[in-house]
Amino acid sequence: MKTYKAKRVAITIEAPMERRLRAILEAADVTGYSILPVTGGSGRSGSWSAEGQVGLAGGMVQVTCVIRPERLDGLLESVFNVVERHIGIVTVMDCDVLRAERF
């Protein structure tokens, strides 16, 4: 099956920042992304869990974008400005994508 090389960027960031990150991705013309819920975790700022939480402040989300390799640097730069001061983690992986028109 024919596949295409791409990069899969996963940005784990605080839930209250989701909107801003979405706006920045859209401003950077990254219109393809998916958001996965994160229900708990641990980091330098301690361990947490979404259970029973009412506010957004405690939670995080994982935003995943699959993009063409040549667009990676642009994406990381726009994203960096947002995440720089925030808790969370950004990872990049190589992947193959089934349909080229999809990203």
């Binding site: 605080e14 209250p16 402040a57």
Partner: protein, 325 residues
């Protein structure tokens, strides 16, 4: 003082407080009891809507009171001024840096609606009336404290992310919209319209609040367990002293406006309570450098339980002493 102990005991043995205590105990004992996040959020929407609507209906009943305006104004001033006091106090009592101190201070200017709701329950049990518009005052006190804190931070030279988006997020945050919106709905539909939905929003209210407080206890207890080391004695002392100062400021404002006892009490409760929903979310966005471990634990783990258990009877005793009733 006898009255206080009777009140405190009565308060401590109400299903509401006991549910909270159960939650704290379960979390400290590391039970696997958990409340689904979606259920906690749904319950909070229900409580905010119900309390807002009841306030609106009550205002529709009694007409717009001249004191509404002055009390809302007083609330805004309290919310804006208390962070300045809190900030000073934190400078004296703790070693927090400027950014963390301002972030904590913001929480104490703003309010906890659940503490407010528990306060109205205490009033009801005591058979004391209060003004329906106090709900609007509560809504008005959510945001000003955030601005004060951001001003404190920027004055110190640190950068905050304060753009128009954040303004909108703060002013239109979910709990303000629900409180104000449901208040307006209550004012429009009045007692008659409320009758239709009473068996959902009024009758089961206290029971639903029990479950919500159970969840709050679980979250507070978990926070306490995880925060060993974060809460220094100085911080803890602040978490117990600041609500009393806030309550005092509320009492003063209430007296000056000439509110009735019930409303003085509620203004004290608003002054005493610390936010744990709206302000933390705003701080995450505007001041990401501040440590949520400090402000969340202090507000939810120390001040909220204190207000709920000892604070409420204390404030009520005081409000009665100065306001009569």
């Amino acid at each position: 003082m006898d009255g206080f102990f009777a009140l405190a005991l009565g308060n401590l043995s109400s299903p509401l407080i006991l549910s909270f205590v159960l939650g704290v105990a379960a979390a400290l004992g590391r039970s696997d009891l958990v409340f689904p996040e979606a259920a906690a959020k749904a319950l909070s929407i229900y409580l905010l809507f119900a309390i807002g609507m009841k306030g609106g209906v009550s205002v529709a009943e009694h007409g717009i009171d001249l004191r509404l305006g002055s009390t809302v104004l007083a609330g805004i001033v309290l919310s804006a001024a208390l962070p300045l006091i809190a900030f000073k106090l934190l400078g004296i009592m703790t070693k927090l840096d400027r950014v963390n101190a301002a972030a904590v201070a913001a929480h104490y200017g703003s309010i906890s609606i659940v503490t407010f709701v528990a306060g109205t329950s205490v009033l009801e049990s005591a058979g004391i009336v209060s003004d329906g518009f106090m709900v609007a005052v509560a809504a008005a006190m959510e945001a000003p404290a955030i601005l004060s804190a951001l001003w404190l931070i920027s004055r110190g030279g640190s950068e905050t992310r304060m753009d128009s988006d954040l303004w909108r997020e703060i002013l239109l945050n979910g709990s303000i919209v629900l409180l104000v919106g449901a208040f307006a709905i209550g004012m429009v539909v009045g007692k008659e319209g409320m009758a239709d939905v009473e068996s959902f929003f009024v009758a089961p209210f206290k029971g639903a609040l029990c479950l919500f407080l159970l969840d709050m206890g679980l979250v507070a207890g978990r926070g306490l367990r995880r925060s060993r080391g974060v809460l220094t004695p100085g911080l803890m002392a602040f978490g117990l002293l600041m609500p009393i100062i806030g309550a005092g400021a509320g009492a003063l404002a209430g007296l000056l406006i000439g509110l009735p006892t019930g409303s003085i009490f509620l203004l004290m409760v608003l002054g005493a309570s610390a936010s744990y929903i709206a302000v933390p979310a705003a701080m995450r966005v505007a001041v990401p450098e501040a440590d949520p471990g400090i402000y969340l634990t202090l507000s939810l783990g120390i001040t909220f339980p204190f207000n709920l258990t000892l604070g409420l009877p204390l404030y009520l005793g005081f409000a009665r002493a100065i306001g009569g009733g």
